[in-house]
Symmetry: C2
Subunit: 374 residues, 2 copies
């Protein structure tokens, strides 16, 4: 079972291949690139799982180097990017070298940013090994590292030449990480594909059991949906791409205040989607049923729909105002209108947002407390 999704972006168009055991036959997918030097970037864990067999297959066709970075979100830093730039230099990478990200979203974002900026741009291939990366971060060309005070604040739009998604790699994922990836899958259903949402409801058990065929179907659909949106709005300028941020402004606030890594991104997104749903419900855009249906599916897939411990409301509110998608001081919210459709709106009553945060388990400020220092 091998599926192909084409991302249409004029001269930057590329293919996403989805199947199982693709890492066992990478050479045929790499061949059209006519590569002569690959630099594979992976964390120690993923390098241990897939690094050696990958290098063994590719080495007969050209020079292959492997650079390891520490596992975890903290590697998405300017410091690690600088380390990789220096490492590429030491390896004498040049404009005909190709950077290969082997791993999850952290590796894809970091290696992609380094590929975008080394020698003003090297070719780039994504081999995502987590569900989150396979359905979301490896598609669409967003790359970035974090600043100490802001996620993804330094980055570039840089499209890969090829994305190779091997769902068999999902079998080695810890349960919690696998489930976290499902949040983005549910998101696609809510924002633009009611039939996908229904498919998830019907097949929640085989998804949880990581059945390969079901996963290929789901991953392919998500990639197709994302590819459509990205083709329409590559650089997030028309507002179309913003629908992908459903739940994310809330999620980023949780991630910024809970500290990077405490909540997995997908977990924060699941809770953020519940905030968005509740806000939409209060505004009369969707009914209670919608909110409960989303909550039920997230719950069945093992995702949190509430914060594990309370965060101060003031903290998350400050964080939303620092979000990089704030435009000229104006916050936009992606809110559902029905299953499979969302809208991006501004001017939402802050009290509605506050109540949505509180509904997710934020600690409301006491009467005596001062307003947030903004």
């Amino acid at each position: 079972m091998l599926e192909r999704v084409r991302v249409e972006l004029q001269e930057r168009s590329y293919d996403i291949w989805i199947g199982d055991d693709l890492l066992g036959r990478v050479c045929e997918f790499f061949e059209p690139l006519e590569w002569h030097h690959l630099v594979v970037v992976a964390d120690a864990h993923v390098a241990g799982l897939y690094g050696e067999p990958l290098l063994e297959q590719l080495e007969p066709d050209g020079r292959v180097d492997l650079i390891q970075v520490p596992a975890g979100e903290s590697s998405k830093s300017v410091e690690q990017a600088n380390r990789l730039w220096e490492a590429l230099r030491a390896l004498r990478a040049d404009r005909r070298s190709t950077v290969v990200a082997l791993g999850g979203g952290v590796i894809g974002d970091l290696a992609g940013f380094v590929a975008a900026t080394y020698a003003r741009g090297l070719r780039f291939v994504q081999l995502p090994t987590t569900l989150l990366a396979q359905v979301d971060s490896s598609v669409g060309g967003k790359t970035a590292v974090n600043l100490p005070t802001a996620k993804n604040m330094v980055g570039a739009f840089w499209q890969p030449e090829l994305v190779l998604i091997d769902v068999s790699t999902l079998e080695s994922l810890p349960d919690r990480e696998f489930r976290a990836g499902l949040a983005e899958v549910v998101k696609y259903g809510v924002i633009m594909d009611a039939p996908l949402f229904e498919f998830l409801e019907e097949h929640a058990d085989s998804i949880a059991a990581r059945d390969r065929r079901t996963l290929i179907t789901v991953v392919r659909r998500c990639c197709q949906l994302k590819a459509t949106v990205v083709s329409e709005d590559e650089r997030e300028t028309t507002g179309r791409r913003a629908i992908l941020n459903y739940g994310h402004t809330f999620a980023h606030a949780f991630e910024a205040t809970a500290g990077y890594g405490e909540l997995l991104h997908g977990e924060a997104v699941a809770i953020g989607m519940m905030c968005a749903a509740r806000a939409a419900c209060e505004l009369g855009r969707v009914n209670d049923d919608f909110v409960h249906r989303q909550q039920r599916l997230l719950g069945r897939l093992g995702l949190p729909t509430m914060l594990p411990h309370p965060i101060e409301l003031n903290q998350v509110l400050s964080a939303t105002l620092r979000d990089k998608k704030v435009e000229a001081g104006r916050l936009h919210w992606v809110l559902p209108t029905r299953l499979g459709a969302v809208e991006r709106i501004s001017g939402v009553d802050p009290a509605v947002i506050e109540r949505a945060f509180v509904g997710a388990g934020c600690a409301p400020r006491g009467e005596s407390e001062a307003a947030p220092a903004e």
Copy 2:
């Protein structure tokens, strides 16, 4: 006297305005940008000269911040880029903010790279105040910082929205820096515009005297030439843009070995152009007359045509092999075929290149010396 050059790059097209005292009426040029927040980046020296009047004019129209960086090539570093990213964050810059580079090539390259990468890309304006920046680095969208071992190794192609060239700022330039900028001017003549070369020969004195009208004519012509090349090959992929590197592979080797900043870039380019001319002459591509004519003009404009002190041949040869334009280990050289025309060729006999370096004052290796450690 106000001249306009249009850089045609589809949706990234923009205008370059050239005139005198333009910094005294910036508002009219900024108005079409519909900006609401400007972040001006300048070094302390340039900020002292032009910062305050600029801010005073612009502040009635929106929020304007000024960030200072230390003067000199050493500011083109990952460290300074990181400082600027953090500063933008502290200023709450968002995607509708515009970065303005006020200064020479160092500021343009650094601020441009930061604009290209902050929040995955902010709008960018160039206000070049050195001749080098006005005729070369502010046009064409190349931005970069240096790695400790390689100039311009980390960067992006990022086009400005507007370039505003005020030749009156050239009056405050130190003599040496002004002359260094003329190297790139001569370069345009040699590589693609014999009439410009002749104009420079005829008007060398009024150029040296920094006559404003003559400078506007010269700067406008250079911008036009560069815009043509850049429009044909924005990302240096077709080879067309490479003609702009005439003399530069030699120059980069001098700069890398003499230490950044000891030779001004334009000075290194002038010496590098002499190397390229001599190599071309030895290969029978041009005659002695060509070499002498180029040397005479560079000399009349106060530019060096020999190294001020010898550099070891082995050092410059190693440096050329580390140049980021080496493709798959293959060096290309831009060599003249006649006045106003160059070609990019590979496979040049290394002995010819060595003799060209020696002709510029490199110290040839002794018979007993070992080959470069490559």
